[in-house]
Amino acid sequence: MKGNFWKVLASGSIVASMLVGCSSGGTAQEAVKLSEGDTVKIGLNYELSGNVATYGQAMDKGTQLAIKQYNESDDAKYKIEAVSMDNKSDSAEATSIAEKLMGEGVAMQIGPATSGDSIATYPSSENNKVPVLSPAVTQNGGMLKEDGTAYEYAWRICFEDSAQASAMAVFAKDLGKTKAVVYSDAANDYAKGLAEDFVAKFEDLGGEVVAQENYTSGDTDFNAALSKIKELDFDVLYVPGYYNESGLIIKQAREAGITQTILGPDGMDSPKLAELAGKENLNDVYFTTAYTTVDASDELTSFIEAYKAEYDEEPDMFSVLAYDATNLGLQALEEAGETGEALNEAIKNIEFTGLTGSFTFDEEHTPLKKVLVVELENGVQVNPVEVDPNAE
């Protein structure tokens, strides 16, 4: 019995790998000319379960809402049908779902949520000539093939990590800061990349990086490094990483008597930050983000209301980015009136205005948009400002 089980499993996996082998070498989907009133399928390839399910679910909701609103609007040219599949937070699964969706003839794919899962679907997009819109691939160089050119059919809606690090350096300079200390997570590519880009930009702008210290994700005691930092002559502390550690670092820094300005990336953007750091310690703290509800525009306010009415919960950055990605895709679809190459061309040349800003795409298929810097005052977000990461 046991032997049979393994045999079945082994033969099953051989068959599966043969199937994958076939489909990945598959040919391009045929482009379809659309006429008004046609039904167009859009594929949703999200992490609906697995370890990053919270991101995937939020994005799925954002996309579904955008499609629902489009279908209900009077001047919609087409009828959109969402085909949603769960990639289980697994990049191999994400690839096979991309193939499946494109085989079913979707006009485009929205998702997946994480950089790793998204990038795994890009070769399929190119083989099938079906555009993929990734809401949140922030990884540096995430849209590039090994030869340094961008995947022709893959696009992202968010800024790149290096953009937010550069924006923070610009912002620090604007605040009149000249001496920075960087305290970064050495076990995390995201934080490491941010630290490098921040240092490069800050020095470019004439600032001095006094010291660089490191911690490891999961640490809870930062006193040793902070006591050391406290003795240094600096005026700003940059802490790239996620809120679990950033919250504790801010708490221990403020308690140790470090009163300088503290800066961080969008990984700090969580309600948990205030719980971990303590509200009284979150003053003169700034972080970069793609989205804030402070000083919301009318469009954003009405989106938030629609989202709450539909799902009975607050939207987050991920649902907003997915909403923008979907609307961008729909706009391009209307402009192109055709799927395949024409649709991709329309995305390439699009001028899009969404909830996270107005932008066009650059050669690396990354939006040229400004980065938001939000200040924390007693743990509450205030004074969002737009910063151009490319400022000199």
Binding site: T216, T220, K251, G257, K272, E275
Partner: protein
Amino acid sequence: MIQFLQQMINGLSLGSIYALIALGYTMVYGIIKLINFAHGDVYMLGAFVAFYATTFFHLNFFVALVVAMVLCGVLGVVIERIAYKPLRHATRITALITAMGVSYVLEYTTQYFAGSEVKTFPTDLLDNTAFSFGGVRITMMQIYIFVITIVLMIILTYIVNKTKMGRAMRAVSVDEDAAKLMGINVDTTISFTFFLGSCLAGVAGVLVGVYYNSINPLMGMTPGLKAFIAAVFGGIGNIPGAMIGGLFIGIAETLVTAYGSSLYKDAIVYVILILVLILKPDGLLGKNVKEKV
């Protein structure tokens, strides 16, 4: 100099925690020659018990500390009865692998019920005023950690050296069969050892949880490992050795960050382990068979 003293205080508070956990490793190893890898997770559960006790039952800090201590002690006994007792005369590798299994069971059961998100304690739990002595800063919480650790170590030393149960523990550790022939109830003695060790781990968990204000189901892994190294450093099976080892590891980690590079603070701990295993495999106070528990 001020910087050095400040770093020593940082190192001592970190080291006290390692010492509390290391004691449990060392006691259990001393009595049944088992490296109880689930010990770090008992420490984690101590933090969670205190979290629920203070957040949902609004107990004050010291009551929560006692509750966590007792529950962790009982849990230690239960783990021993269910997982280790049936394997007491099996090969040591069997028991070791079982200990890892228990560790995963505790971690992921907690994650299933409590979620993997970090949790924070109520803010007004403990007065955390800071005192400054000529530029060296020490907080009330750090004082609590030192005092509680020292008091518990004195109590533990007293139990092991002066009480009947302590004598039984030492006897079982030297020769289980001979102890049985002398009329010592070996099962009860081993259970009691697990109870004591787990109590200390529970206390360490509560102190860490409140001090750093962040707990999660996997928080026991790294401190557990480092406390294990502390126990090996001091000579596994040796109680004063575990205390010294814990403090040493805490201070070493802090000083490396302060005067070297923070990049190597974890590496140094493992380098210490390797050096100890090469140069003095019995640890600092290892050969002291008489004191073994």
